[in-house]
């Protein structure tokens, strides 16, 4: 790449080296009568990888989706990349203390990769990648294209930049989705079961890309069912059970913890 691309990859710039990139305190979330999160606290140190594991319905996707406010917690506090929010509700049920500007700023710093890829089918691969940098971060088209090409190269999809998503395999689509997230140059990358919708042969190409990002020292928070992978790449593992954190710590600690033995045993 050209010399200008070097600036793109400086992703680990820190404002305050010791503050965690994400810190959540006592988050609760209820859907109707269902208590999905019952007071979850979590800290993701800058430059580290945290994986959330747990059975279906344990609340792990909800927890992840709270991090970019696709779900709004009912209560608790969240500090993400210099934005701090304390969740309380006014009588109308709206969240107080969160204005639209803060929401946009926060979302521009937290990029998400979805289980179902969720690429925009009417835009080309490059179009998908440059959309948010142009519209949200006000990059010029030229800058956005340079960024986009850089990150498409990074995930090995540069040669398909003009293709539409419908012409790509699932693994290729997910790699484009990762490039789309990277092009926002986010402080934190969120992965929501990034390989669950892929057939087995395609899983490794996506895991390979994610492993590479982990090795670069990016801050990542990941929900996954790939136990081997989670154990291998994570600095921290969080085992969520019925809306509580049942175990957390280094991968080895969590895998050896009696409370999640039953869950991780087949993989360990």
């Amino acid at each position: 790449m050209t010399s200008s691309s070097r600036t793109f990859s400086q992703h680990t710039s820190l404002s305050s080296p010791n503050a965690p990139a994400v810190s959540a305190h006592n988050l609760t979330k209820r859907f109707g009568d269902l208590n999905v999160l019952k007071g979850v606290s979590l800290a993701v140190p800058e430059g580290s990888v945290t994986s959330i594991i747990g059975a279906s319905g344990s609340g792990k996707s909800t927890l992840l989706r709270c991090m970019n406010l696709l779900e709004r917690p009912d209560q608790g506090e969240l500090a993400i990349a210099d934005e701090a929010i304390r969740f309380t509700r006014n009588p109308q049920g709206d969240i107080t203390g969160l204005d639209r500007g803060q929401l946009q700023r926060l979302r521009a710093k937290v990029a998400m990769v979805f289980q179902q890829f969720n690429l925009w089918p009417h835009l080309t691969v490059l179009g998908n990648v440059i959309e948010a940098p142009m519209r949200v971060k006000n990059r010029s088209r030229k800058e956005a294209v340079a960024l986009g090409e850089h990150y498409l190269e990074r995930v090995g999809m540069a040669d398909r930049r003009d293709a539409y998503p419908a012409f790509l395999s699932g693994g290729q689509q997910q790699r484009v989705a990762i490039a789309r997230a990277l092009a926002m140059e986010p402080r934190i990358l969120l992965f929501d079961e990034p390989t669950s919708a892929l057939d087995p042969e395609r899983v490794n190409e996506v895991l390979g890309v994610i492993r590479g990002l982990a090795d670069e020292g990016r801050t990542m928070l990941m929900v996954t069912h790939e136990m081997h992978f989670a154990r291998e790449v994570s600095d921290q593992l969080v085992y969520l059970d019925k809306g509580y954190i049942a175990a957390e710590g280094s991968p080895d600690e969590v895998f050896d913890d009696p409370c999640c033995q039953r869950f991780v045993a087949p993989a360990a």
């Binding site: 696709l70 521009a108 979805f114 179902q116 690429l119 925009w120 080309t124 519209r135 926002m184």
Partner: protein
């Protein structure tokens, strides 16, 4: 079969006029109607309660009454009422108010707005929510999600149906011959009255409608095929079995 009247320049002029008026009315109604349709769909899905209610009522009334009745309603009813408005005769709007083309266009715009509005509303509801969620997750505003993601995707999904709506519109246009607008049917009527030939002029304009429909279908199919992001199998001229 006697087509000797075709060589008469007066009849040629009628037919040409009729053809041009038909196409103009089609174009104006299609463009205006689709814009209204997007408005109707948005009002029903995202509008404040009273506006959503009004849009729903509009759709029901337009779709629940005959097009010919609507045309008469606008031309005779509203047109007549407007004559009573003091001072209107002196404004620039007045010549428009005397023009059957204006009332035809208003009627068809409302009709397309109501029918296509429901089609577009349905298509908007069938855009996978994850795509819009991805837009929000990346910080796009509600308006950006709508303009950049939601509407283009909805239109992509319902293009074939909208093509059908446009063909129906083309074939509704002969109704305006009843309000003294020189469209193709009106031209045929005049030729019939003067030559006492019933079938020949009708056959001719039927052929013209058919040819126009074929061209219209092919054009819109071309738009469909070239719409960004169409699935590979939708890009063929003929549907894949």
């Amino acid at each position: 079969m006697d087509f000797s009247w075709l060589s008469d320049p007066f009849y040629q002029e009628y037919l040409w006029q009729g053809f041009v008026n038909t196409l103009w009315l089609l174009l104006v109604s299609a463009v205006g109607g689709q814009l209204l349709a997007v408005g109707v769909a948005l009002a029903r899905l995202r509008g404040p309660r009273p506006l959503a209610w009004f849009a729903a009522a509009f759709s029901s009334v337009i779709r629940g009454t005959p097009l010919l009745v609507q045309l008469f309603f606008f031309y005779y009813g509203v047109g007549h009422l407007l004559e009573g408005v003091p001072g209107l005769r002196e404004t620039w709007i007045w010549p428009l108010m005397r023009d059957p083309f204006f009332f035809g266009a208003v009627t068809f715009i409302c009709s397309v707005g109501a029918y296509s509005g429901e089609v577009i509303r349905g298509a908007m509801l069938s855009v996978p929510p994850g795509e819009l969620e991805a837009g929000r997750a990346f910080g796009l505003s509600g308006r950006q999600v709508l303009v950049r993601l939601w509407l283009p995707r909805a239109i992509q999904l319902c293009l074939p149906t909208l093509t059908g709506e446009m063909i129906l519109l083309l074939k509704s246009i002969p109704l305006v011959s009843t309000i003294a607008l020189m469209d193709l049917l009106q031209a045929a009527n005049i030729i019939r009255d003067e030559t006492f030939l019933v079938y020949e002029p009708l056959l001719l304009i039927a052929g013209i409608y058919l040819a126009t429909t074929v061209v219209l279908t092919a054009t819109l199919r071309l738009v469909e095929i070239n719409f960004p992001g169409m699935r590979p199998r939708s890009r063929r001229w003929l549907p894949v079995r």
